[in-house]
Chain length 284, copies 2
Amino acid sequence: MAEAFRIRNKEVLLFQRSYPMRRAVDPEISKDIIEELQKHNVNLHLGESFKDVEDEDKALRIISDKDEYLVDIIILAMGVRPNVDLAKRMGVKLGVTGAIKVNERMETSVKDVYAAGDNVEAIHLVSGKPVYLPFAPAANKMGRVAGDNIAGGSSRFKGVLETTFTKIFSLHVGRTGLSAWEAEAAGFDVAAVDINHVSRSHYFPGKEQMHIRLIADRESHRILGGAITGREGVAGRVNTLAAALWGGLTVEDLTQLDLGYAPPFAPVWDGLVIAANVMKRELK
Amino acid sequence: MAEAFRIRNKEVLLFQRSYPMRRAVDPEISKDIIEELQKHNVNLHLGESFKDVEDEDKALRIISDKDEYLVDIIILAMGVRPNVDLAKRMGVKLGVTGAIKVNERMETSVKDVYAAGDNVEAIHLVSGKPVYLPFAPAANKMGRVAGDNIAGGSSRFKGVLETTFTKIFSLHVGRTGLSAWEAEAAGFDVAAVDINHVSRSHYFPGKEQMHIRLIADRESHRILGGAITGREGVAGRVNTLAAALWGGLTVEDLTQLDLGYAPPFAPVWDGLVIAANVMKRELK
């Protein structure tokens, strides 16, 4: 929304108690997002809390814990909660996240009642814990699995990695698996490295810088997650990490992973492999 | 080279005994390459063999098994062979491919002699067989492993997937693992599916069509390889398949793989997941 209003040349004030995309990424990645927002003259008010709103003549007065601001429109993005009213009335059990609990066949606790989509919790395949992450790709896959099983099939929904992409002005942001703070909360002995690399061979026109943050477990050397920012080649590399997470690949695997090379698409040492090499040293 | 000469508006005749990129891809993928070459007015002479060349006044006469052609320049691309003269003189054993045989530490058959790079064979991680694939990313990784071990470390080079990208005019081509013909030659019971899908959400500006070919083993349902052509988003998806191959993912895994979604980068059902769903039906 900030981007859409700035493109129409409206003044935008963005308030956030912590930092942009805190749920999904570490501060090291959010820093790139902050820079992009500032570059496009979004007035950031980070670490600032909304207290109240007052109606003025032809305007709204925002009262924060630091100051007051007159604005035309207020847009609130306050997170998402599952709508479980119907489930409760049917006696369907909820999980620890407050969303509907299902098994791999998408069966609820009530016989012959299936649930799928944005009101359902899923297993995070890295932490092994239930999470509530209402994203479209998982919701669609759950629906397919539920439908298959209702019709007599035997499909299973394995879980999620929270692979997500977003575009903030011209910055591409992608992440998968656990951020460092999530991995710590999940009880891993976390190692994190940040590298900068190019999207194409350094001599190839159109190359762009990218920032890759890789998260791994110091004990097992298993890759736990990653996040990338840049202006091209971000989504594909994040998906590559997602496939690596699904397969339980270690940092050593990633140092060896046979990723493609051609000057228009990637340097001979892909950023993911570079990040894995840096992580390998970090784990020594 | 064909592209470079066409960009300079030179007439180009391209002779090939079989079809373009036969070593790397199946005819189904090569068809897209042929269309791109034709679109840019490269005169294709497929299934036509070079017999002889004669020197004419200010020109060269090509004699094929079908016709004769007068040209200014002939460029021959006849494949690559390892240069193993030094290895032979040192008594270093060669492998079945004719390239230098090494173990995972890059040690040759001669004590304290290591080999790495374009003269060395490697294990193909899908077929488990030695292959000679002199590509830069593997050569670089081998060098790093050899160097580490020479200096007292204990790194291992696992093998290759033959992940390669190329750009032919504006067509991106990528492949990883085994093509159907390679998989058959390696003894697998091969299933192949071809799908067409979009690189971004269908309503998002700049979306491009892509063709995804997926290869799997009918017995184990393991993914054996894949190839993609398109005009964006090809390289990242091929790398994603490469990571899936490294982890030994099945077709069922790929139907569930949590790939990212955002309209500028991918539709909610990524093409790889669609291809896996089509393959799942094919395997029934």
